[in-house]
């Protein structure tokens, strides 16, 4: 019996569990394998929807589904949060006291946005990174906002969805225009980076648009603290700005279960091989998505693409196959840059984002992703994604020789199945 335990039921965990359940369905039905998904929440949110909730007044109900309805029937969903992972004992302990033993482990515990890390931030700022309810609070505040200064600040890096602070500024501009009070509102964007968007080519798109829309930018602003009583935000570098409404991306860290298990780096992120997605120094243990220390965007697309690699590699390990894949660092983050215009921040480990122009086509592609997300979780759109994303993974042994085309070996084509 080969036991796979997936910890974390967000995008990456849910998709990995479904992929493994699909690949191993015969073995699961035959009692030779199991896939257990350990999750904290019964409801699964589409997290990018928080922007629409905060700045367009969308209903949170539109962006949530019941987790069990997203899972293949072969996945054993355990609604019982993990509290400890023990690599030595190869087990996962849950809050109710269960112990789940594993042969293969996938850590998909995500990142946690934590306003408490900056003095005054929780009291003085709102954000759309801690869930739909907090996003709704922003929308409610915007309704009564009549004039003054709105600051969008990045209060910690890395954070989920790198384009989201820029999108927030663009959406605020649009919102105040529609309300007819844009001339009475100053929008200010504070970033620790040297430019409005960290990648230079993307900044070439964002910066002139910010100027055109009168969105003021202050770079190299590392948030030190917020004084809610004075409505003032301070940087480590010594600058300070007054605000009437502060919307700040909180600092992030790894999940509590990772920190409490002593598995992460100083910020609670798991040291992970950026190609195979194996946790460094461990056998049969993988990590994906926001939970890792890999220097790529913390986003759902990344988790999704890494899930494919991890599911493939686990099946290869089970079958004693040398067919191991490596993720090539492909990111693809859509960014709305005004009414009905968007760009895609696309790159790999070796290719930075390139020049591009905002388009309506990209905008509608972004909007459509909110609808297809749910189907993407069951793997039924992979052939379309393979075309859209292009090369996202390579045979491990071949990568150093140059980027070779992907050769996908489906379970039905495998001749070397040897599940113990």
């Amino acid at each position: 019996m080969q036991r796979v335990v997936v910890v974390g039921s967000g995008d990456g965990g849910t998709f990995t569990a479904n992929l493994l359940a699909s690949e191993l369905r015969n073995e699961i039905h035959g009692g030779l394998a199991s896939v257990q998904l350990v999750g904290e929440h019964l409801k699964h949110p589409f997290q990018p929807g928080n922007l629409d909730i905060a700045f367009k007044g969308a209903s949170p109900d539109k962006y949530v589904k019941v987790e069990t309805e997203l899972l293949r029937k072969e996945v054993d969903f355990i609604h019982d949060p993990a509290v400890k992972i023990d690599f030595t004992a190869r087990s996962v302990a849950t809050v109710s006291g269960r112990t789940l033993n594993y042969d293969y482990l996938v850590i998909a515990t995500g990142a946690v946005a934590d306003p408490s890390k900056i003095p005054g931030l929780a009291e003085g700022a709102m954000n759309f990174h801690t869930g739909a309810k907090d996003s709704q609070r922003i929308w409610e505040s915007l309704q009564s906002f009549k004039e003054g200064t709105v600051i969008v600040a990045i209060a910690g890096t890395p954070h989920k969805c790198p384009p989201s602070p820029n999108e927030a500024a663009f959406m605020l501009d649009d919102f105040f225009h529609k309300r007819g009070i844009r001339d009475r509102v100053k929008i200010k964007f504070l970033t620790p980076y040297p430019r409005p968007y960290p990648a230079e080519k993307i900044s070439h798109v964002v910066e002139p648009l910010f100027m055109e829309k009168g969105i003021e930018v202050t770079t190299f602003f590392n948030v030190d603290s917020v004084d809610p009583s004075k409505r003032k935000i301070y940087s480590l570098e010594g600058e300070a700005f007054d605000y009437d409404l502060l919307i700040a991306v909180p600092p992030h860290h790894g999940a509590d279960v990772i920190i409490n298990s002593g598995l992460g780096d100083a910020d609670g992120y798991i040291p992970t091989d950026k190609g195979t997605m194996k946790v460094k120094g461990q056998d049969g243990v993988y990590a994906i998505g926001d939970a890792t220390d890999i220097p790529v965007s913390k986003s759902g697309v990344v988790a999704h693409l890494q899930s494919v690699v991890v599911a493939h590699n686990i099946v290869s390990e089970m079958t004693k196959s040398s067919d191991i894949l490596e993720y090539n660092g492909r990111i693809n983050c859509p960014m709305e840059v005004g009414p009905r215009r968007a760009i895609f921040v696309s790159a790999t480990y070796t290719s930075p984002p390139s020049d591009q122009s905002p388009s309506m086509v990209k905008y509608y592609m972004k909007r459509s992703f909110a609808m297809i997300y749910w189907r993407a979780l069951n793997g039924s759109l992979e052939s379309i994604f393979d075309i859209f994303f292009g090369q996202t993974r390579f045979p491990a042994a071949k990568q150093q020789e140059g980027e070779k085309p992907l050769i996908v070996v489906k379970s039905s084509q495998r001749s070397d199945k040897a599940y113990a």
Binding site: T157, P158, P192, Y193, P194, P198, A199, E200, T219, F220, N222, D224, Y234, S235, L236, E237, G238, P295, P352
Partner: protein, 82 residues
């Protein structure tokens, strides 16, 4: 009570923008006035980014040294809100 100045080495080799500058900021956040941070980077953009940050923030750019295959950027923390 006096504090002992720290010398920190931040190795960002292999990391691309915004990796090196982000790593520098992490070290800056936990540093004190007088501390020295050495940033090792393979990303050539780190040179301009750190220079611009030091100029704007008032921190001292002590040196930029071309090593074999990477650059060593030395910054002394002379400006930080306490």
């Amino acid at each position: 009570m006096s504090t002992i100045e720290q010398h920190k080495v931040v190795d960002s080799r292999g990391s691309f923008c915004p990796g090196p500058i982000t790593d520098l900021f992490k070290a800056y956040r936990s540093s004190q006035l007088g501390d020295v941070i050495e940033l090792l980077a393979t990303d050539p953009a780190a040179r301009a980014d750190v220079t611009a940050w030091a100029q704007k923030s008032g921190n001292e750019l002590v040196d930029i040294i071309d090593e074999q295959g990477y650059i060593r950027i030395v910054v002394k923390i002379t400006k930080k809100r306490s």
